[in-house]
């Protein structure tokens, strides 16, 4: 996530304010802010003269776009075939229950964002989770909660 560049500045970098540039603009915005906010969607809609429903429709089509401000720690849970076979659904379930969020959301204390990903390409380690770009192999619900509580402790 690179900060500093406002959406106004991003938009001014696109001379052609047509819908062809919608996805590049969304990608830039996410690169700088980490997510696509409600305000950003309105502003992009005004700039491109597109209804907000259309922009949300396009953005929600792609997995790469997020609509919640990212938390301090970014947890990706792999739900690819190998991880699924090795029980990643249970890991995901217990994590979501523990955090009381849905996949794609950020916890209320802004500590964790949880994302489901299709495959991280480390099938031999299944089930895999990636916490802040660090891979954890053979994850169980118990292992998951110890990773989380360790991160929580570090914050205190």
């Amino acid at each position: 996530m690179d900060s500093e560049m406002t959406l106004n500045e991003i938009l001014s970098n696109f001379n052609d304010k047509s819908r062809d540039n919608l996805i590049p603009i969304l990608q830039e915005e996410q690169r700088h802010r980490g997510f696509i906010s409600r305000e950003a969607i309105i502003q992009i809609g005004t700039a491109l003269n597109l209804p907000v429903s259309k922009i949300y429709g396009v953005a929600s089509f792609y997995n790469q776009f997020r609509f919640n401000a990212p938390g301090k720690h970014y947890i990706q849970i792999c739900r690819g075939t190998a991880c699924h076979v090795k029980g990643s659904a249970r890991v995901l379930d217990s994590l979501l229950t523990d955090m009381s969020v849905k996949a794609g959301e950020t916890t209320r204390d802004k500590m964790f964002s949880i994302e489901v990903v299709a495959c991280v390409g480390a099938c031999s380690l299944a089930p895999v989770i990636v916490v802040d770009n660090e891979f954890h192999a053979n994850v169980t619900s118990a292992k998951m909660s110890s990773i989380v509580s360790k991160l929580r402790k570090e914050e205190k």
Binding site: P51, S53, K54, Y56, F61
Partner: protein, 572 residues
């Protein structure tokens, strides 16, 4: 000129035509669920697939341009099987509650399942039960019944220029929804209901008011009045299998009395009242260099559209309430006093071709602590109510409206069609300025179904440019012109729905342009055949001004018949 063969029949077509339209013109019935004439073809439902010689796969004919020498099959066994499978797959996630569905008799999905002989559930997926969106005062959305044909999405964007909804998410998680999948009430939806008439299933319906009307009718302390909009009497007959455009006003009034309404009033009467106020306002604005062009304000979806998308034009909107609200206001004040009925004991029901009227009735400024209009029934709901009460429409003896709000001029009746308000207003404006009546009251340029119409009229040396649009995407064209500085237009009439109220969102399901045309002709016939053609010659209107209102734009008028508008800040 292109020549091709469809089912062994040699036919011709013009270049760039889509295969489906040729097939249909030649009388072959190929089903579709996503196709709407005039809108972008998307090939989403794939029911219109055909076989073309030399092409291996099946081809969606709605989005396939004709080519010379094509040999097309529309009903081979392979095609029928494919179509049947498509319907079976759609039914795989569709709820099984057809018995309770309001679209039971009109559902296109159910119709096709029947047509293609679907007799068992071959596919079954545990459907996720999404929440029904009941947030809007006018519409309800049940995503479980949605088959993702996208008709509503295209109508909302292409016909209405609103784009409140779109496809959200992807694959099996795809739904039709607003931005961030929130309630329609906080979206840019203008409640026009065109999505309802476009929807092939029961995924989109109006907020029903039948129950509250029945409750009021059963309450002995309530005097229940009903008013019927100009477009309703020329539409309702269709639902009872009469030819489209038949004017059933007389028997409809009888039916309303049989249902139990104490007073039957005519919204065309208050359309005349609107014209008295609106034409006076126009003349006043022209003579006192007020804000021009003045824009009509009787279509509540249009009013919300301006409030949402073009707030800079709010001062251009006529301050006149719509005919429905004017009648509601006068009924609960003057008429109530005259008949010694306390305001709270009057229950005003309006039968409208419109869903946005349900929203308009809830606007806080449309009442005096309690709303002026208590319930709004669409034409479809009136049909339901008539059936529920076991009334045999076609066996009824025609009756007349109740006075003092039962007489109308034909000008008021014309409100039902696009251009009608314009004609009616010009007739009375001419009289206000010159003291004489127009010799030929018809303005042919503003008649018929074109989306944008213009005319230049001369009144006593004064040149007035008028523009008429129906369908809000067409309204955008006029507004954008004016915003860019166009100044030869002094009066603009906008109806939100294509064709005006006769094509409204509360009218029979399906967008049948031929039927809309017949309804329009019926209104023109009434205008041609009857004698009172000017709002200012309506005796009941004159009487109302003498006894109560004084004069147009007077003190009482301002209190009861005029209103204000607000800029709306919603995500748009």
């Amino acid at each position: 000129m292109i020549e091709l063969t469809i089912n062994n029949k040699k036919v011709t077509a013009s270049e760039n035509e889509m295969l489906l339209s040729v097939i249909r013109r030649e009388g072959f019935h190929v089903p579709t669920l996503c196709h709407v004439e005039g809108l972008t073809p998307t090939g989403a439902c794939r029911l219109c697939v055909v076989e073309i010689e030399g092409i291996r796969g099946l081809v969606p004919s709605c989005a396939y341009p004709v080519r010379n020498g094509m040999v097309v099959q529309t009903h081979s066994n392979r095609l029928i099987e494919a179509r049947k499978t498509i319907i079976e797959l759609l039914l795989g996630t569709h709820p099984d509650d057809c018995l309770y569905c309001t679209r039971r008799d009109t559902c296109e999905l159910l119709g096709l399942a029947e047509e293609l002989g679907v007799r068992e559930r071959r596919y079954k997926k545990q459907p996720q039960i999404p929440k029904i969106d009941v947030s809007s005062p006018a519409l309800m959305r049940d995503p479980a019944k949605c088959i993702l044909c996208g008709r509503c999405v295209r109508v909302c964007e292409e016909i209405q220029g609103v784009g409140a909804i779109d496809f959200i998410g992807r694959g099996s998680n795809c739904v039709v929804g607003t931005a961030f999948n929130e309630g329609l009430n906080i979206s840019s939806c203008v409640n026009c209901g065109q999505c309802i008439t476009a929807c092939p299933t029961g995924a989109l319906v109006e907020q029903k008011h039948i129950k509250r009307v029945l409750q009021a009718l059963n309450d002995p302390s309530k005097t229940v009045t009903v008013q019927h909009a100009p477009a309703v009497s020329v539409t309702l007959g269709e639902m009872f299998n009469l030819p489209s455009g038949t004017d059933v006003q007389g028997i409809m009034i009888s039916a309303l009395r049989e249902i139990g309404f104490d007073q039957v009033f005519d919204t065309s009467f208050s359309a005349d009242l609107t014209i008295m106020e609106e034409a006076s306002e126009l003349v006043h604005r022209i003579q006192n260099s007020g804000k021009l062009p003045m824009m009509t304000s009787c279509s509540p979806a249009w009013v919300k559209f301006v409030e949402t998308f073009y707030p800079q034009f709010l001062p251009n909107l006529s301050t006149c309430k719509s005919p429905m609200q004017m009648l509601g206001a006068v009924t609960k004040t003057w008429w109530a006093q005259k008949n010694n009925i306390p305001r709270e004991n009057i229950y005003n029901v309006a039968v409208m071709p419109c869903t946005a009227k349900k929203f308009e009735a809830t606007r806080p400024e449309m009442g005096d602590l309690t709303p002026d209009i208590d319930a709004v029934l669409t034409t479809r709901e009136l049909y339901e109510l008539i059936r529920m009460k076991g009334i045999r429409m076609t066996e009824l003896v025609p009756q007349f409206n109740d006075n003092p709000f039962g007489q109308r001029s034909t000008a008021g009746k014309l409100f039902g069609a696009t251009g009608g308000v314009m004609e009616a207003a010009v007739r009375t404006a001419y009289w206000l300025i010159t003291g004489k009546n127009l010799e030929t009251p018809v303005i042919p340029e503003v008649r018929d179904l074109a989306g944008v119409k213009e005319a230049h009229i001369e009144i006593d040396g004064l040149k007035i440019g008028v523009a008429v649009a129906s369908g809000l995407a067409n309204a955008r064209k006029i507004l954008d012109d004016i915003a860019l500085g166009r100044s030869d237009i002094q009066f603009v009439e906008i109806m939100s729905c294509p064709g005006g109220c006769i094509g409204g969102g509360g009218q029979p399901y399906g967008t049948d342009l031929d039927a809309v045309r017949s309804r329009m002709q019926s209104l023109y016939k009434i205008d041609r055949d009857e004698t009172v053609r000017f709002s200012h010659e309506n005796e009941s209107i004159k009487n109302l001004y003498t006894e109560f209102l004084g004069k147009p734009l007077g003190h009482e008028s301002h209190r009861l018949l005029h209103t204000d508008y607000y800029k709306r800040t919603v995500m748009k």
